[in-house]
Symmetry: C2
Subunit: 294 residues, 2 copies
Amino acid sequence: MPVSITFNVDADLLKQCAEILGEPVTVDREGSGDVKIVATKYAINSNTRLIQSIYASLDNLNLRDIPPQVKVCNNPGAFADSAAEQAFALILPAVKKIFYHNLRTHKRIFKKEPVQTLKNKTIGILGYGEVGSRIAKIARAFQMNVIAYTRTQKDDPNVDQFAASPARLIAQSDILVISLPLTNSTRGLINSDALNMFNGNLIVNISKAEVVNKADIYWYLKRLPEKIYATDVWWNEPAIVDDVPENCIFTPHEGSEVPGDFNEAVLNACRNARKFMDGVELNVIDPAEYYKVH
Amino acid sequence: MPVSITFNVDADLLKQCAEILGEPVTVDREGSGDVKIVATKYAINSNTRLIQSIYASLDNLNLRDIPPQVKVCNNPGAFADSAAEQAFALILPAVKKIFYHNLRTHKRIFKKEPVQTLKNKTIGILGYGEVGSRIAKIARAFQMNVIAYTRTQKDDPNVDQFAASPARLIAQSDILVISLPLTNSTRGLINSDALNMFNGNLIVNISKAEVVNKADIYWYLKRLPEKIYATDVWWNEPAIVDDVPENCIFTPHEGSEVPGDFNEAVLNACRNARKFMDGVELNVIDPAEYYKVH
């Protein structure tokens, strides 16, 4: 069963992919193989059996009009360790006011102020997939209380409680971390209603900007200067159309910029495609959930 | 056996102390009790049995001329959780260049750059007491390799290897964290020789500034602008006598500024003093190790 890879890979990585897949592999921007390992673009033809994304999220694919016989797989875990690290790289400076203190000390002002801890704070993890579970593990090491929301509740020693709804989670969280996929049901989920329920001071987004309603969070941050929105993602990346609010800590999608992570994601996508060809369907998603409805 | 507390405590905390100690307790700046719970000052008289610090470190006490019959106890674990959090609040922004990226995004520049991870990096923990062991636990959750140096090696599932000497530890570390007490043998330990052995890019100090030779690290940071010294402590706090190097991330001793930590440290000191009175000598130190030799 021919396999195509729809983005540039170097010869060494291509060789590793072919070894895993055990099939002829071509690098082909549209994807002419029956099985397509894809980043963004692909074409569907009558032989297409599988669209295998190298990303955990699928919102950058056009998933409309996929015939039912074509399966679509995501790649959970790709970049997940880095995303979880990025979450804490956003959380800790916010909680500890590192920018503020560092600026003052560089002006030679040494002034202690009461500081917050992560210990005993409640972190609410909205979306409990691979990224969420890695966040929970780290949060546990910081002695945080961990609550999570996921549609498919699971037993997890790192979670104290799975919330019955996003609203319940938001209302109970001191720190809210968004690690949801962007789907029809999560787009704009963090809107004014959700923000009004939130009693904590820090919202962290390491998934997709569009889970958050831009106008609503801008208004929220303007009205409540003590609240912080710390994010690794932005609406319409890479454009930054409006001024970034001061109480926003913002890194440019650095969670997926770890050298080596890309290759590992590609190889992992190939492993899942190999399983699919062997009749084991893992990580198959429903494209209808990801339709972009404008 | 009368107990005195040599710093201000409110009535409620005093009551809690008295309950733990089961003895009359007075608040008395010099400490007239046979057992003295101390922060900085105390006087020794002929009845003095125990000097119990509320801090893990003792370098702020004048420990000279302590008669051999007077025991001195430190308070390991006091502020340790907060210090370990502060370590990662210094590590993550440095490794992830959060200041740099945040400044750029606020200028509306969205530009990804390769980012480093903690995962698979080696953290060297110099001084493996209560703070060090908490750091190791968090480092493990970040999937780091953990090496440590301590004079009293211990079995610890969070440590991959105990180094035979500080030099061995320094040479093997990607990130070096200083969590040593300040004693005669640790004062100035991080000098030019030590810095020359270090192949990593980040040194973090959450213990005492004077473990690091100031002139040597200033020269090191000036000569090697890619290296970062991230510290919560400074020489001669609160004075900042010289300009702070640009490649220094510096918070003003925030690791011990957590509301509630102070009271918990006092109560823990009282618990240890109670054990002492019951004949169980825990956390007794050798004052000679802490003499300030100028």
